[in-house]
């Protein structure tokens, strides 16, 4: 997979999204859409188009559900990719000021330890 040139990245937890569409409306970059698929509650959920997120975080604060949206800022500064031991999905090495080598799976959101 090629590394996205987007500055940010947004992950929607489909089982937590209630499909209120407030994030879609709020997104200035217009990169969120309502999915054709619905979750186990029967809600059509929000989805990321896959490109163009700026990492502004506006969708995060528009969303009423505590865990439905996760926004990664400075996505373009991240480098490595590997397979997540929890879910098998890809994850990225992600730096923050507090934790310079935080590893987090962008699929299942679990932190990955013992690796740099």
């Amino acid at each position: 997979m090629t590394v996205s040139k987007s500055r940010g990245h947004v992950v929607i937890s489909t089982e937590e999204c209630k499909g209120c569409e407030l994030c879609i409306e709020a997104c200035p970059a217009d990169v969120l859409i309502l999915s054709d698929k619905f979750n186990t509650h029967g809600y059509h959920t929000s989805a990321y188009k896959g490109q163009g997120c700026t990492g502004c975080g506006i969708c995060f604060y528009a969303c009423p559900e505590p865990g439905a949206i996760t926004v990664f800022k400075r996505w373009d500064q991240m480098t490595e990719m590997a397979d997540c031991p929890h879910c098998g999905g890809e994850y990225k090495v992600y730096s923050t000021e507090d934790e310079p080598h935080l590893l987090i799976c962008t699929n299942c959101m679990k932190p990955i330890k013992d690796s740099q």
Partner: protein, 475 residues
Amino acid sequence: MNNILKKSASFYDVYERRPGADKLTTTYCPGCGHGVLHKLIAEALDDFGVREKTIFISPVGCSVFAYYYFHTGNVQVAHGRAPAAATGIKRAHPDSVVISYQGDGDLAAIGTAEIIHAANRGEGITVFFVNNAIYGMTGGQMAPTTLVGQKTMTSPRGRSVNNEGYPIRMSEVIATLKAPVFIERVMIGDTKSTMHARQTVRKALKLQIEKNAFSFIEVLSACPSNMKLTPSRSKQWVKEVLADYFPLGVKKDVSEEFEPKDISRLVVSNSELPDALNLETAKVDSEKIAPYREKKINEEIKVAGFGGQGVLSLGTVLSEMGMRHDYQVSWLPSYGPEMRGGTANCSVKISQKKIGSPLVANPTILIAMNRPSLDKFENDVISGGLIIYDNSLIDRKPVRDDVEIIAIPATKMADELGNTKAANMVIVGALIEYKDLMSQEVVLESLGDVLKRKNLVELNQKAILRGAEFINNLK
């Protein structure tokens, strides 16, 4: 600013307290403003590092289950009483961060008195008041903040000024008080207003953390379900209609000049308590009470009679004396509004074991000092129990044949001693002698500490001795 915006650590990862299979999502409707405000509060608690010492008070209303979500201390309180509970909690734990979170029905209707007085005292708490102009949880009834003309389930023709009055602007009402430090009305509307609300939430919490200042933040919020609008349209309504009647902005801010408030001295510590209450530890000769430590005592006593007969004080004397014998005791009065002449009863428990509840439904001992009391409680006594009744006042015998019965003319005996009112102590003397509940010596010695009127101690000692003598004559 964090590089990752994700679910705050001040929320539980999984909402284990939530019943049912879904433990990931909140109970709020899609597009509800509560969730956003929850997130703003949780994020601030994370960033200020105060999650561990935060106590979140859930109200009655849609946010009643906030304790499912917030990974803080939690108390769910009676309808409207959040600021009163917050007052007690903050005073008992002056170092904690106490958040009183309420809706418009909770704060502006049933709990109006509580918020006004907590604000007036300037309690060191932070109040978040979510105003969506409607009762959400109960299904869309009119709220005190419902706009004029707004149709709700209980105002089907629209709120009318003649019938229901004007919507209350709570922030402005509270801003007239002297003690509050920071009052602002914000809204969860468009991005700009939500991000401003975020700053306000942080300022209010910071004022509590640093200065124990009272802040009141009113948050205009959407209720898409009850407004029967889409989440997007309902936010639009908040911005255009609700915020028109409830103007946004700072209503009061004296945070700059407000000096940090020391509230630690508002609480009396456990070690200071006996002094504050003027209590002394009872001095009891441990040798005299030693035999009673071996006994298996577990009595549930109902004392009943007319008000004025000393029914309640009979109970207090029994429980006070019980304490002096190292028993666990409880005393629970029940009486009408009259001081004299009404009916009164009290429940007393005396036990070697810890007492869970002070209620006595089925007494092991009934002390009946008048006829109505015997009529009322006779059938409640457990089989094998004891009924003591004053046969100088009660003109019938108990009908139960599965209990022990002592008829004692206590009032007549007290009269002979010179004071009718000592009848209760005659019964105390008889009871402890008959059941060997306590040391008579200790009771007589301690009577002076227990009775308020010291000139009656001698009379009451005589009454106790008379009661015991009566029992010994029976034996």
